[in-house]
Symmetry: C2
Subunit: 230 residues, 2 copies
DNA sequence: CTCGTGATTATGTATGCACATAATATCGCA
DNA sequence: TGCGATATTATGTGCATACATAATCACGAG
């Protein structure tokens, strides 16, 4: 296997790093050297090494050369799961039920997070995501009407709030937090769990440019496990 | 800003996608078209669009053209945190204490996961990661002596087991799972938590090529939150 | 010995070109 | 009309080249 594609070269170099040919933090050969070895143009090696750098396998500095990353804290890539896809990929039918939907005065902490002026209301909703007839996750969501005025009248019978927002508001960035929560009585009732049970929890805040769009917290039913490879 | 670097062009196109210039799933202009618009070579546009494709922003098909991804389920990139760095980045002093370390017969589930033949022992250890004088996380770890024979005699007074393994065994891939666990009495005692309290839990199995290296479960102390941006 | 300046060097990146490859469209033939 | 061969087209990729940029090193002036 001496495919002289940037792809092939990238994998060849990756294999040699993984095999321990160079120490952690050690300088590896330069682009020219590799190019001679693989019998290709420097450009090609450059692309391969840049790709490895983006993956976090190596570090590169002009003039400094390329070195294996000292602490290869593995970068995990995973997709924030779309609940519908998660459920359907388990071969179950997805459904969702809006438990509560109203305009509300957000608590102070949420005002700050969503940049909502005091006195202004925001849309609040609670909904239950179902896998077949079993609860899969319970969602609490705040939506800034300032950023998304149309949300108050949105028809959410077909699309979930999340899907509606994705289609309506292009969103640029977000923050995600993962925690464990003890089920309070309401959560326990919603998710058919014991009060106090440990629930895997994901909360997310998203912005469009500089304006907060929505903040949601998802409480997953018992036994949920978010898996990914590295 | 009309920097004609692949980097600049990538950001320009990204901005236009985010701004909603094209519908989800819609075809965006071809490489030649963009090249004319930006006044650069097609190669440069190609690199920019390929980068966006790797990010999952667009989909490309030969002859089919480039289109905005239909469901921009945001890809999150985050680094699996190295505990020492987490603690130190909070301005606290990192320490760790080995609670238990011995050779043991792994339970069946673990035999399968680590590919350990029946009758063979594996290294088992429990350790406590400290932030200052407070417990930060409790770790249960199995190590395959088949893959890492040196582990039985490794000096773990300076490096944590994880850091020792990273430096010793190059590792190629792993699987990570995130869950919520209720603290059992032992966990509660170790982490100064209430029994039954919800603990954020991360387990990991890593392989070197086709051989399992180690499987660990990390129970984080109360209130831990794994954060990342998208 | 110290400091600054210029030479050196490795990576970063744009370009024009050639050819590869995959998917689609079109046309000719039965 | 139906089907298969062929042309077309958009992306994929490699190469040689030129120049940019940042970091380091060597050297010489003070």
């Amino acid at each position: 296997m001496t495919a002289t594609t940037h792809h092939g070269i990238r994998e060849a170099i990756r294999a040699r790093i993984v095999a321990g040919e160079w120490q952690l933090g050690e300088l590896i050969p330069g682009e020219v050297e590799f190019a001679e070895e693989f019998g290709c143009a420097r450009t090609t090696v450059n692309r391969a090494l840049q790709a490895l750098a983006e993956e976090g396998i190596v570090e590169r500095k002009r003039k400094g050369g390329t070195r294996v990353r000292p602490l290869p804290s593995p970068q995990a890539q995973f997709r924030i799961p779309v609940i519908r896809e998660q459920v359907e990929s388990r071969g179950q039918e997805y459904g969702h039920r809006i438990v509560l939907r109203e305009l509300r005065d957000p608590p102070d902490e949420m005002r700050t997070r969503l940049q909502i002026g005091s006195g202004q209301k925001a849309a609040y909703m609670e909904s239950l995501h179902l896998a077949g007839s079993h609860p899969f996750a319970f969602e609490r969501r705040w939506v800034s009407l300032d950023t998304v005025p149309g949300f108050a009248e949105a028809d959410l019978s077909e699309l979930s709030a999340n899907e509606w927002l994705i289609r309506t508001v292009p969103f640029s960035r977000g923050e995600v937090g993962l925690t464990a929560t003890s089920a309070d009585p309401r959560l326990a009732a919603m998710l058919q769990a014991e009060p106090g049970e440990a629930l895997f929890t994901m909360d997310r805040t998203t912005w469009f440019e500089d304006r907060a769009v929505t903040a949601t917290t998802l409480y997953y039913a018992r036994g949920y496990r978010l898996e990914f490879g590295i």
